[in-house]
Every structure is written in C-alpha cells, then in structure tokens.
Amino acid sequence: MKLYELSAARLISLLEAGEIKASEIQESVQKRIDEVEDRVHAYATLDRNTETGSSKSAGGESVLDLKGIPVAVKDNICTKGVPTTCSSRILEGFIPPYDAAVINRLKKANAFLLGKTNMDEFAFGSSCETSCYGPTHNPWDLSRIPGGSSGGSAAAVASGEAILALGSDTGGSIRQPAAMCGVVGLKPTYGRVSRYGLIAFASSLDQIGTITKTVEDSALLMNVIAGGDENDSTCSNEDVPDFTKSLEGGIKDLIIGVPDEYFVEGLDKEVEEAVNEAIKLLSGLGAKVERISLPHTKYAVSTYYLIAPAEASSNLARFDGVQYGLRRDAEGITDMYKVTRSSGFGEEAIRRIILGTYSLSSGYYEDYYLKAQKVRAVIAGEFKEAFKKVDCLITPTSPTTAFKIGERIEDPLKMYLSDVFTIPANLAGLPAMSVPCGFCGNNLPVGMQILAKPFGEKTIFKTAYAYQENSQWHKRKPSL
C-alpha cells in the first residue's frame, strides 16, 4: 500500500484502527519527496528537522487531531524557525520569530509540517514562474505550469509529496492551481480563517485555504484552521460548524445557478464539456439547475488588477532592507532603499508595485482606484442578488488546462486574464472551491468551481462531496 497516495481521512481511519503508525505515513511521504522532488520542484524549503517538523506541542487533548498527518505550507505563511521567503530574493534569509495563527492551530492539532511550498513571488502570478527559485512543474505533464500562485502546494498534494496543504488565494491562487493539478482547492469566505502571519499581498482580498486530494479532507483541514482570532481583527467570529458533518445529506432540491458570462469565448471547448457534464451529473442527483446572468463579470479583471496591486504596493513598502531580508549597501538611506528594492524584487513584483503606486497617485486615484472600488461594489451586489435565487453557482475554475512553461510569462496581460473566473469570488469575499471534474484529451485535469454566499461553505461541501461520491476523477494519479 502506498501510504502517500491515500487521503488524510483514510489515513486517520487506518491510524485509529491501529493498522499503521504515523511515522510510517511520514516516511512514505518523505521517501516520495526524495523520489520526485527533483522533477516536480514543489518545495522552496524542506524542513528535515523533526523538532520543528513533528511539532508535538500543545495538542494531545484536541478533538481536532490530525495524528501526525504530513502537511505542506505555502511559503508566504510564517513558520517559527523555518525560512519564509514568499519565493522572493528580498526575503532571503528571513526566519520568522513567530508562527502564523494557522500554523499554531496545525501544531495544536498534531500536524506534521513538511516544509514550505514554492509559489509565484509574493503570490504575484498564475503559473509559479515568477518564483526566485524557478518554476514548479505540473505532475501531470512536467513541461507545463502547475498554476499559481499556490502551485507548489497543489503540485505537492497531486504528486504525493504531501497529504494536505495550505495555500493562499487573492485572485484564484488556490483554486486555479488545484484545477490544473487535479486536486481540491478551497478559498474560504473572506474572514473565515485568520490572516495573522500570512505575509500580506492585498489585505482586502487575501484568504488562507486548503489544498487536498478530496472534499472530505478539505472539511477536515478547515475544522482545524477556521475561526476567530484576536490577532486578526478582520477575522470573523462567526460560528464555525463541524464541516465534516455538512458533507452528507445529498443535494436534492439544491438550486444551482450557472452564469452565462462564464461560458464565453476563450473558454476551452473540452473544459466547457467537462463542466457541463458535471452539472448534468449534479442535476441527476436531484439538484435544480438554472441559467442566470452576472453581467458585470467582464469588469472583474480590470477591477482586480487595479485594487490588488494598489494594496500590494502599500504592503510591500515594508521591504526596505532595514528590519529583515536582503540589504544592499549604499551611501545614504534612500539609496539603500532603492538599491535593495530594485535588486530584491523580481520583474512581476516591480510591475505590480509601479501599477499600484500609479493608481493610488494624485491625479489618477479617482479615475482608477476609486472607480475600481465602486465597480467592486457593483460586482459584490450582483452576487448578493444572485444568491437570493440560487444556493450555489457552478462555473469552470480556469478557462484552460495547464499551459506550457514559458507560454504566457512574456505577456503580463494574457497572464492576468488566466484568472478571469476566479477573481470575482475574491472581490465579493465569497467562499469558492475547485473540484476535479474531468480530463482533457492531453490527460490534463479540469476543475469546476462551486461558489456560495459568504459563510456558505457548508453548501459548497455538500455539493462537492455529492459530486465526488458519484465521480472518479479525484482518484486518478499522475504517473511520475
């Protein structure tokens, strides 16, 4: 039995039955890493130090017990004593003196932390190609990108280099790589999971979430990481249900909305067919399907690429060579800032900082940033209206399957348009999940996206679980 191929839920039941030991799972995954990491390059840092890795701290009595299941963590989430760089040269050598809230929670739940996964620099990208460590490769086809920015986490779970993983999602960074690697990715409602210790990209859009092999595993991991936190005042104190209890029950009479604007030119034919088949399957299980219209969808990319870089340009002002990370020496302090930032940030980070600075600068603020915030309100309002009529929405996660490494990196606008279906959920703060729903002729996975109203994760879990119980896509493994 290859333990690294199993889901966390399955492994936990084997552990509870006394059939295996946690150390066997950990060894199986470590061995798998030794076997394939050279080719996949899912990790930025592997933590082979069992002291920090096994983290046998506080836990024990917790009902949320991951029993030593190996978890990979995206490199923008602070881990005490383990380098955290956002895959950027400017954070070279940074070793956080504290744990992010989600890491605290994982440690209390006896997770085994494997290391930090590769990502687009500061999560700026949809392909993992902007990482200062070089790209991660898609386990289904090593010449292709894994998606991004949480591409390392998605590739790690898909290849068996981790059982569970955390990612972060600002405009699709969990869902798009999950779709492209054939795994399950959940971006929870904005405010569902504490952002304390997540290195900020765009504070009004960022959210930590899960990347897992199954919907059930996502619910398990959400039970561990969700909930209020006194260190993050934007984290909601809304009750956190036991998400594993919302899986069963079926979807009879569930009303699924299918927005026309997500089935437009630019959507790959095979992706469209796979998503339509999935919708048909759900309808066969008793759900009612209604075509709806979200006419402002086409403005989401522009809105997002004004708001997100604006917030990023402010957030990244802290990387100035003073307190941590890289410093390049220069005569005066202003020159030190400039030399450090110009050599520490990669091309896409510089592009976004300049774009964000521009849209916030005097004379342009009203036409760009403020206008984008108003359109954001219109988009959020449109979703609110839609959820009065339907329980959830189903769309493709990404217009295409994984593209070739190098294919879009020289065309930033084309890269930005890769996020066209995932961005709206961030603008409106909605929970959204990508679930494997088929494969294209070239054996590349396709994902469908399920969106619900704020704090409606239960509806997503119920729908996605019903789908997985009646489909086999999530059981396919890449041959590496």
């Binding site: 904005y190 009004s204 002002a317 510089i350 300049i354």
Partner: protein, 91 residues
C-alpha cells in the same frame, strides 16, 4: 504613464531598458482597464472591505511580546540593541 517617476515614488530604480519595457506593458494594461468607464457607478459607494466589520476592542492589558534578541535576529545590520541603517542626517 511616467514609469521612471512612479518607480521613484515607490523607491525603485529602473534602468533605461526596464523603463521602456515596463512603459509599453503598463500602457497596454492601463488601456485595457479603460473598460471600467462603461460601468455606471453614479451613487455607488466604493467598497473597500467586504465584511460589515465594526471596530474590534479589547481590554488594554500588557502581554508579553517577542524578545528583543528574536526581533533583531533578522536585521541585516545591527548593534547590540539597535538596527543599523546608513547615515540619515548629513553631519
């Protein structure tokens, strides 16, 4: 867009080649954004945050914070108790 000037505002120094490349890319991106003008936003309040959050208050109780040594550990240049930076005031 004056790329060089905007970069300087963000404390980033670009060479000529970068200014030219970024200039043409950013102009393409900005002209794409012009589609937002089509949206009628008269009377719409800008949305800066999706949750209806209120101020979060807590009691003002002193709690332990990180040790000075731990905080200074990551500083590229330091003196015993301080982070060192290049001279700020001309002497």
């Amino acid at each position: 867009m004056d790329v060089k000037y905007t970069a300087e505002l963000a404390k980033i120094r670009l060479n000529k080649e970068q200014v030219d490349k970024l200039g043409s890319e950013l102009n393409d991106i900005l002209s794409f954004f012009k589609n937002l003008k089509e949206v009628d936003t008269k009377g719409v309040e800008p949305l800066s945050h999706v949750l209806a959050l209120k101020n979060v208050f807590r009691d003002d109780i002193v709690k332990p914070s990180l040790k000075k040594a731990d905080v200074l550990k990551n500083a590229p240049q330091k003196d015993t108790h301080y982070i060192k930076v290049p001279r700020v005031i001309k002497g």
